[in-house]
């Protein structure tokens, strides 16, 4: 029986000829990632181990991005714990404030993740790197500790769902709408334990940033990973960002999929996830009732890349943020920030009345830089709209694309740029 792309990568990293869904394997890791929230727990666990030191100081990435620049004393203690660990163990890829960005935008940009890799990260959105054709998945702090010490992790080989992508996106529709549409269709546990394998001739019409957004939210359908084939777009990206050699794996023609879902990009409309689950989706045309929005966030590991800022800036051009609404824009990395400055996007945001923050995950998880008060409503390009995720338990989050978020910041209700 043939293997899926994910299964081939896992087999190669477990030194096995082939693997089948459900098989338990131990795989060699190319990268182990942690942040300022999950790493301190992992470091505590590592101290309990009889092994000393890390398996490979070049294959660990530590990024203080969640509550950094630190929001309070306890967060500062956590960052300090990670920083000291990084220095003691001479971790090559420790990114201090000033160099850091949101981890899942930063790692591909720094060339640390390439096609064919097996990557674990103590952050659920580690699945982002599937956009480049890597197997990457979120784990907890103990797995991170074991990974840092041994360079290995155990996995149950996943079965797969095939998404056959055709067509081309319409103006103002982007990767976020594709993944919200998919989650709306299959539900927040629709791909539980499985890999989401994106294929089809429509892939070539998706930008690299669209693919990062789509792979990033595979976890929001419960998936173990999301993965894209390695085409010219991905190869160009890796050549521009990485000196590491990559390996291209392709699914066998007779690979087995539990389900096949056809996605025609040309039929998709801007899609918004209503509280309190990413599966509660409506297209912009299905929204009949309008209500006042208090805050808009444009950023995060899902939508803080240059494409996202370009789209938002285009919408803001010649417009102002609605009086009484706060709009917070967060470029995901320092490089994206610089590029956005060069392109004039930052000027556009500030002139429109938005604020621009240094890279941080901050508001996405109700940490800092935009926490919501009682009963406030926020349109956000982030990835989760769970109860209390961005602040007070009675606040509400509407997940949307950068185009919808920017247009909503201008009108003060959920809107599309088409309506401006």
């Amino acid at each position: 029986m043939g293997m899926t792309m994910t299964q081939k990568i896992l087999a190669a990293h477990a030194n096995l000829e082939s693997v089948v869904a459900g098989q338990l394997i131990e795989a060699n890791l190319d990268m182990v990632l942690g942040n300022d929230i999950t790493s301190p727990v992992a470091i505590k666990e590592m101290e309990k181990m009889k092994l000393s030191g890390v398996f490979d100081k070049d294959k660990i990435a530590l990024v203080p991005d969640h509550f950094a620049p630190n929001k309070d004393i306890k967060s500062a203690q956590n960052s300090k714990c990670m920083r000291e660990f990084a220095y003691q163990n001479e971790i090559t890829n420790y990114f201090e404030v000033g160099e850091m960005g949101i981890e899942h935008a930063l790692l591909p940009e720094k060339g640390l993740t390439v096609a064919g890799d097996v990557i674990i990260g103590a952050d659920s959105h580690t699945c982002t790197y599937g956009a480049l054709g890597a197997f990457s998945t979120g784990v907890g702090s103990t797995d991170m500790a074991a990974g840092m010490a041994t360079g290995k992790a155990w996995f149950k080989v996943p079965s797969a769902i095939k998404f056959n992508i055709t067509g081309k996106l319409n103006p103002w529709v982007s990767g976020k709408d594709v993944i919200l549409h998919i989650i709306g269709k299959i539900g927040v546990d629709g791909a539980l334990y499985k890999s989401m394998e994106f294929m089809g001739d429509g892939i070539k019409n998706l930008t690299m940033d669209d693919r990062f957004t789509i792979a990033n939210m595979a976890i929001e359908a419960g998936a173990k990973n999301g993965i894209f084939p390695v085409d010219e777009v991905a190869i160009t990206y890796m050549q521009d960002h990485s000196t590491r050699s990559y390996v291209v794996y392709e699914a066998d023609a007779d690979a087995e999929y539990e389900r096949e879902i056809l996605i025609d990009l040309s039929t998709l409309r801007s899609t918004i996830a209503f509280p309190h689950l990413p599966e509660n989706t409506k297209t912009i045309d299905e929204i009949t009732e309008q209500f006042k929005i208090d805050q808009v966030v444009i950023g995060s590991c899902t939508n803080g890349r240059l494409d996202d800022l370009r789209i938002a800036a285009k919408v803001f051009e010649g417009h102002k943020v609605k009086k009484g609404l706060r709009c917070i824009v967060i470029p995901a990395t320092q490089q994206i920030y610089l590029d956005a400055m060069k392109e004039g996007y930052i000027k556009t945001f500030i002139e429109a009345g938005a604020i621009v923050s240094t890279p941080t995950c901050g508001p996405c998880l109700g940490g800092h830089m935009g926490v919501l008060a009682e009963e406030e409503k926020c349109v956000s390009t982030t990835n989760r709209n769970f109860v209390g995720r961005m602040g007070h338990v009675t606040s509400e989050i509407y997940l949307a694309s950068p185009a919808i978020a920017a247009a909503s910041a201008i009108t003060g209700t959920i809107s599309s740029p088409e309506q401006l």
Partner: protein, 163 residues
């Protein structure tokens, strides 16, 4: 190895943001995390939970963030076992890795009600509802995971392998 206690019952898609809200993730102190466990969906949980009690939920328990603080908070609050129809995969791994027993069982997840007294045998996966006088067959752990649980977590398991 068995768990025995009274049940706190929840529904589908209990996410890790409500198990332990991110506003408390600036600490790694287990007892402090436990003192806020389930706070955003059940304010009375921490007040009422007793050592040995169980959490029973339906689909996709523990979805969302990879924060290990979630199973840590549940375990430190005194919960002896979580039963659900299905678990989100990162939560499942994390629970095993820190030695919080979890069992998948659709029938138990749907039949058991809040306050029921329940006993779980981790080796066999057999769940006994003492209050209702019913028995359900949960999924026992694969051998590989049983070894990790027997060692009381992944780190002691690796230590054993290396000693």
């Amino acid at each position: 190895m068995k768990a025995n206690g009274h049940v706190f019952k929840y529904g589908d898609n209990v996410d890790t943001d409500v198990i332990i809200p991110a506003r408390y993730l600036n600490t790694t102190d287990y007892m402090e995390l436990a003192s806020h466990c389930m706070e955003d969906i059940d304010k009375d949980f921490v007040k009422n939970v007793k050592k040995g009690d169980l959490i029973v939920a339906t689909k996709n328990f523990g979805c969302g963030s990879s924060r290990e603080h979630a199973p840590i908070a549940i375990k430190a609050a005194g919960v002896s076992c979580v039963i659900a129809e299905t678990f989100a995969r990162i939560f499942y791994r994390n629970s095993i890795n820190i030695g919080l027993p979890i069992v998948e069982c659709k029938e138990a997840a749907n039949r058991i009600e809040a306050g029921d007294e329940v006993e779980v045998d981790f080796q066999t996966g057999v769940i006994v509802n003492i209050t209702k006088n019913e028995t359900y067959q949960g999924q026992p752990f694969p051998e590989f995971m049983q070894k990790i649980i027997k060692a009381e977590g992944l780190i002691p398991y690796i230590n054993q392998k290396n000693s």
